[in-house]
Each structure stands twice: as C-alpha cells, then as structure tokens.
Symmetry: C2
Subunit: 411 residues, 2 copies
Amino acid sequence: MAQSLPHSPLARPLPALPPLAGVRFGAAAAGIRYTGRTDLVMAEFAPGTTVAGVFTRSKCPGAPVDWCRAALPQGEARALVVNAGNANVFTGRAGFEATQANAADAARLVGCAASQVFLASTGVIGEILPYQKISDALPGLYATLSETGWADAARGIMTTDTFPKAAVRETTIAGTTVRIQGIAKGSGMVAPDMATMLCFVATDAALPAAVLQPLLAAGAARSFNRTTVDSDTSTSDMVLLFATGQASNPPVESETDPALAEFAAALDSLLLELALLVVRDGEGATKLIRIQVTGATSDDSAQRVAMAVANSPLVKTAIAGEDANWGRVVMAVGKSGEPANRDTLSIAIGGVWIARNGTVVPDYDETPVVAHMKGSEIEIEIDLGLGNGTGVAWSCDLTHGYIDINGSYRS
Amino acid sequence: MAQSLPHSPLARPLPALPPLAGVRFGAAAAGIRYTGRTDLVMAEFAPGTTVAGVFTRSKCPGAPVDWCRAALPQGEARALVVNAGNANVFTGRAGFEATQANAADAARLVGCAASQVFLASTGVIGEILPYQKISDALPGLYATLSETGWADAARGIMTTDTFPKAAVRETTIAGTTVRIQGIAKGSGMVAPDMATMLCFVATDAALPAAVLQPLLAAGAARSFNRTTVDSDTSTSDMVLLFATGQASNPPVESETDPALAEFAAALDSLLLELALLVVRDGEGATKLIRIQVTGATSDDSAQRVAMAVANSPLVKTAIAGEDANWGRVVMAVGKSGEPANRDTLSIAIGGVWIARNGTVVPDYDETPVVAHMKGSEIEIEIDLGLGNGTGVAWSCDLTHGYIDINGSYRS
C-alpha cells in the first residue's frame, strides 16, 4: 500500500495552494480499496467553465477515459470525480455502467448535465468498480467542497505515490492577472496497477475550449510526453485543464493570439513541473535523469533517441549504480533505430565530454563525472553530429525499489 | 565478474559435443580483461567451408560486426576468432585496426585470406582492444585446436553467463546424415556491457552460402528475434553458421529445395534451443516466460504484441513476484500500438482463461493460476479476437538479480 512505501529521496514539498476562483475541491474516504485514508476526490467548477483533455494512447483504455473522451467535445465542465484504488479498466459493460452512475450522481448534486461531469479512476485493473460506495459517499463529500480543498485533493488521488504533487503559476493575459494551479499523481508515466498518471489543472482565465485544447496538447507534448519511468503506458492516464473564466480577462479567440504567449509559457512550465514531480516519485527512483540530444537529423528523431536512452534498463541500472557507463548510452542510441553515425557521435555526462566523434576523448579524466554520478540529478548530453534536430527527455534510475514495489505489490 | 554470479536456476547442463567433421575449436587465456579463465576462442574450418551470418540492428555496431559484414558476401570461412572481456565497440580507427591485425594473424596461421577470418568481440564498450595480447596468444592457441574443443569454446566466450550453452542436432539431406552443432553466449539479447549475444553454429552439410544465408535468416527470425531479456540491443550481437561440406550430401541449389525441409527444421529447432538457453541465463532470471498471441489482424501484428508483453517491466516484475497480474498484460497489449479491441480481448495464464471478451470470467478461480505462477516456466496466452494472426515471444522475469548485475557491474 502507498502508506508503507518509503518516501522518495527526490520528493519536493507541497507548495501553498491558495483558492482559485471558481474551483472547490474536497476528498473523502469511500472505502473502495484502502482503509484509513481518503480515496475519493471531487471538484465543482463555476458555471461556464471550459475544459480540455489529453489521454493515454493505450488501445485498451479504462471506462473513465472513454467517458471523458465522449464528454470533451462539448467543452464544458461543472464537476470532476476521481477515485483511487480501482482503475475501472477491463470491466466490460459493468465499467461503462459505473461511469454512467457516478456521473449522474455528481450531476444531480451540482445541478448540471452528466456530460459536464469528468471522471477518472486509478488502481487495480480488472476488478469491478464498487460504484455504489462512490454514490454513497458523494453527497457528504459535496457538502464539504471548499476553495481551500486543493491539498486534500492532491493527497486523495495518490496510489503508490510517496508524496503529494502540485504546482502553481501566476501570469497575465492582456494585462489581466490570471492564475494556474494543478495537482498530479503517478509514480510512473506509467504503471497500470496502482500508478496511473493523472493530472488536473485549473485556471481562472476565461478561454474557450477550442483555445484551451491546443494549448494543453502542446504543453503535454513538451512535458508529460517527454518523461518516462519504465516505458509502460497506463490504461488510464489523463491530463484535464479547466478554465473557470473568473479572472475576466479580455476575450481571446485563437491559441496563436500573442496575448496568450505569457499564459502558454506559464502553463508549459507548470505542466513540466508536475511531470517532473511524477518522475521524482518514479517507483524506486533515487536519481532524476535529463537526456539532451542535439545534432539529430530532425527534432522528432532527436526526441526518439532521447526516449530510447530514457527507457533503457541498462542505462537506468548503471545510473542507479552511480556508474558513468557511457557505453550503455552508445548502445541505447544504436538501438533507437534513428539515423546515427558511430563516427560522429559524442557523449557528455555532467557536462564533461567523455567521447567525441566515435571514440573516447584522449586523457579522459573520470573524476568529475564520478562526482556527478553521486548526485541526485544526472545530466546526459548526446550530440549525434548529423544535423540540427534537438530533443530532451527525463527519466529516473532503475533500482531494487522498483522491483520491490512491482514484484510484490498486488498481493 | 562472471565467476562470482550465482548460477541461473533455469540453467541446463551442457550436452555432449562430439566432433563435427571439418571443425577444430580451442580456447586460451589471453588476459584481455579476466584473470584465471579462458577469454580467447579460435576455430579452424576445412577448406571449402561456406558461411552465413545475421547481425545486430544497432546503428552503432562494433568493429568486428563491420568486419564480418564486409567478409560475408564472399561466403567462405576458414577461421573464427572470438574474445571476451572487451567488445571493441566505439573505439574509432583503433577498433578497425585491431580487427585488421587479428584477422591477419589468424589468416597467417591457417593459410587463408584475411577475409576468410570471422571475428567477434564481447565485453566492455569504449575501451581500446589490446589486440597485441590476442596476436601473442593466437599461435599457441592454434597449436591446440581440436575436434573435441567445442566445450572449451562454449566456456571461453562467456561473460556474465552463468552456464555454458550448446545444442546438437542430427538430421538428413537427401538421405545423407548430417549434423548441426552450436554454441552461444549471452545473458541478455541484449546487454552491451558484458552480455552481448554471440552464437556460432557449424554443420558438416555441403551447402552453398547462397542457400545457407536464407536458412539462417529465417531460423534466427523464428528464434533469436523472438526472445528478449530487457529490450536492450547489443552493439555486437551476431549468429554465424558455417557449413564444412564434409558430410558430402547431394548438391542442393536452393533454400526451397524439398530435400532441405528436414535440415531446415533441425536448424530452426537448434537455433531456438540456443536462443532459449540465452533467455534462461537472462540476467537475474528465475522464470522463463512464453507469450502466445492469437487472433491478431496479422502475424506481424501478433508478434509486436507478443514482444510488447515480453518487454514490459511491469509484466516481468509481476511474474518475478509470482503474481498472476493479468491487468498488466492488458496494459502491455494496449501500449503495443497494434490493433486491439478491449471488448474482444481474452487472456489466459497457465492454460486458464482469466478474462474473456474484455472482462474477467465469471467465478474465476485463481487457485490453479497461483500454482502455475510458482513454477519456473510461465505461459501467457493472449487472444485478440480480431483475426487469424499469431505470434510468440519468450522472455524472463525482472528481479533484484538484474539490478544487482547491471547496477554495479562495471565497477
């Protein structure tokens, strides 16, 4: 259970989460799987709140993912209901019925259409969701929703997480101050069993759903899609972005409006902070790894090389062992399938170029690299020497802790 | 070092390796990296021996892979030289010069062209191969070559292997009895550091290189290319097949000649046995896993689904924990990116169908599955319910042993 896992050594403290106009959060203990902790989270959004979402690419997504995908085109949200402990995945017709029932429950409380209710579930796959427990708990939970409920929500959605995760930004749109605030859970990108990645972000900006969606998609591509823990893909991953409009900024019609530049940058930065918090809580992680690729034939190619290195078990175990084993980086570049030329390939660790143009540098002194490997943040740079494409990925090391968590978790 | 690793619980005894006409093997201690063990292997083949080869798909292959690829089109082989302890990878011009020098050394001893010498190296990446040590050791080694040297050769090419690997077949071509015999090393498909996969097979059949090559390519596709330990790809993997012609079978002109059917089946079976021996020695492996996929839209699609499951760290850790966590199989199917429909997907473990058509079977009794999970050979069946495509993959579990070996190996 989450409670018994040791705290990640890469954990960050939960920031202060002040009220954000138009959002009320709360958490309750519905007893879905865990005892002695909250496992059900609800949010109510002000009328007129718009919504955007990005979802797992899994071909076998959970019922709540199907539900949200169907609700998204309307672009309006009044409520969010999230449970931890049961993913409602691979549950057939019963899974669909559970989403219908709980969306109807929340809609009744809030006074909205069921299609304005967004749902997420995280936990064990293949067990029927006891949705009646959620139905029973929702009225009491709804009565406790509060503008100060964010931290409770960040804790209530945790599964194998060892610390709650949130991030906050303040920015402007055409001179109006707006805020963005989000919570996330996950200790993989990743793990389906109990470690699905969920992220819920709200802003008081007034932005139509058609503007919100491309902003979120671009931001997620530059953050969550560049991180990995173990290469596995959850059936339930989602990032939802809600805009309550309470900041009353001047209208914005297009995501390319220059008035949005500062907001888009703040959103990107918040999403990356949340994504890296998830990597920092990667199952068993003791080191955060950043892989920077330059000199590729294209940005897409560079990104695939970066992800191949980020996902390599041999690179990740070497880093766990504090071994500056750059030969494994060569191996991972080679296995990516992307254009690479051994004789133009250069590799640096901790800012020290170890190999240049296909061979180890003369008089390579491992001392500063050895010192870097003992730190908690590892930097790997790869120059393919072929073109101008660049990419970056973040990962964590692969340790005994990962085996402990995943080799004995369900039982 | 290899010597200090615990023996794999999945190890198989080395079979008797009788002489095979036209092949003489031997091993010596050249002191390349290890002490107190052999690390240099040589074979001499009778004049007229033909050769076929398949190699790593890495974009950053080692110098010996380049050497063999260049030599292969001539289709003739008189010698093989293999060293363990240094992979001669990412060593630039020095790597090329080392291959030239050692091929010339062997050619001088045997009395052949350098292009009839095949080379393989396995070990650490990025360190200059001390080829003079090999040059110095080869004459003494050559003097000891013997038709009974197979077992010594199987041991001399080991790195992180915990047991030597070999397989033997007897078959016929057009009524003539022929033999096939091979050795392999590797404890990953896989690992570049010390666990490159190398496989050397010889037959006394008389077969032109143009017939040998498609037979080997097809056999490797059905064996080595269907196995994985950790998804990583060595810079040095190779399978070489030598045919000495000493059995004097009737001539065969094409790989599709019906006279070759029995030989091809025996070769396939031998290659699969060797590939599975490598998986059995997978770093830290305690269980051999077979994943059978049916009902895919094509065989290629089925194979990609099988490999996605075979490579999933979450599936592999669950099996290490003896947890029949079929939800992780659903996850891995979903992440493969291949056509799949949650509502037609069925999963069995140990022959027991746990989920059918997208939901757990009514009254699923976990008892026989729990018993199966305690065994050393795990069977997973996946029916996608979409078409007639089938595929199969073999893998091993992911345990603390893998982290031990790879998280602290080089130091």
